[in-house]
Amino acid sequence: MSQHSHGRDDSAKIADHHHIHSELPSDPALRVKALESLLAEKGLVDPATIDAWVEIYESKIGPRHGAKVVAKAWVDPAYKQRLLTDATKAIGELDMLGGQGQHMVALENTPGVHNLVVCTLCSCYPLPVLGLPPAWYKSAPYRSRAVLDPRGVLKEFGLELPEHVKIRVWDSTAEVRYLVLPERPAGTEKLTEEQLAALVTRDAMIGVAKVTA
């Protein structure tokens, strides 16, 4: 693990292969179409499988999953305890584990602590519970500033936190994926678990918003 590491030549070869991109059309729609037909011709992909994956991310996986986890934790203290102790197991109980979300940690927001999740190095995100990340989560502004100026970023999302609240930013550098357990809003005592789940937003589970009643 030195700067003269064995990775150097390996990396240089890959970097060379990236040179092709300057010779290809700039419109990604054209490039991806050509890639799909090439892969299909070579038998490296079945276009129907692409359809299946698109359907998974468009209809089967999304923030509704995470919202169910949150709502259950709000109404079921024992579940909440299990979630905070071993989120992988607790989310597994609901059959909501999967790729990019096999090792889960839940972070509880309280009046004194606010958690915020980012991946500065790429765009790691808990796919099985939140679906695909929004464009802003993957963008340079969020990745660069969430760690240096989390309060400024939150303010841009309309969330101004008092000085005494401790902000904990979680940079997803490994394969552990983070889900924020937002505070249950006041005045929701009478709502059912399902009604509560409908209040929980994706942004609140990333930590850039609170849940409002």
Binding site: M1, S2, Q3, H4, S11, A15, A140, L148
Partner: protein, 219 residues
């Protein structure tokens, strides 16, 4: 600011591509662009450090794709726009708005040579003596200013040794933002390559930076 211009220690840019017998300008426009920026009228009292700062504000992907003289053009445009000496509309049209009075105070051909040898410089006499002595161990401060600074990220928080004192110099961090010259003592500080880059670096090699007094604290 911690932007893409602060390149020291980055990977991913490939090899250094040296060009044999490189001409001063590769195309005619490069010389014209350089000449425009060097000889055009600047806003009164324009602080030289602001030129560098404005270059740093170029969008990061454009900073990496635009050539040096293109970046100068961008800076020249920003300077003139900021000062209201040209308008965005004029820049798009390439001609002055109707009814503009033409100025007659631009740098003339016969003073260019003198301008290139003018001795206006950033050295300043300071009343107060320097805080740090030659051979003193110092730590470069860990700071993340959003504005202009000449303390590269790779040296922040690292310990070095003062090797030279240059007297007072205009402080870019203030000057670039129209806050006056605010001169401070300037030092050359030597860092070992291992302090900056870790144990895998060469044990003999050193990196030297010119750093202002407020960039430093005793170590």
């Amino acid at each position: 600011m911690n932007s893409i211009h602060d390149m020291g220690g980055m990977h991913g840019f490939g090899r250094v591509e040296a060009e044999p017998n490189e001409p001063p300008f590769h195309e005619r426009w490069e010389g014209r662009a350089g000449g425009i920026v060097e000889t055009m009228s600047f806003p009164p009292g324009f602080p030289g450090d602001r030129f560098r700062y404005l270059r740093e504000t170029l969008r990061p992907d454009l900073y990496l794709t635009q050539s040096y003289y293109e970046q100068w053009l961008y800076v020249a445009e920003q300077i003139l726009l900021e000062a209201g000496m040209i308008s965005a509309q004029e820049l798009r049209d390439g001609r002055p708005a109707a009814g503009e009075a033409k100025r007659n105070d631009a740098m003339r051909r016969d003073v260019v040579w003198d301008y290139l040898h003018d001795r206006t410089h950033t050295g300043r006499k300071l009343e107060q003596g320097p805080c740090f002595a030659i051979d003193q161990r110092i730590r470069a401060r860990n700071m993340q200013p959003e504005g202009h600074t000449r303390l590269p990220r790779y040296a922040r928080g690292k310990i070095g040794t003062v090797t030279r004192h240059h007297g007072g110099h205009v402080l870019p961090d203030a000057h670039a933002h129209w806050q006056g010259p605010a001169p401070q003592h300037l030092y050359t500080v030597r860092f070992t390559a291992r302090e900056l880059w870790g144990e895998a670096a060469n044990a003999r090699d050193t990196i030297h930076l010119d750093l202002w007094e407020s960039y430093l604290e005793p170590a």
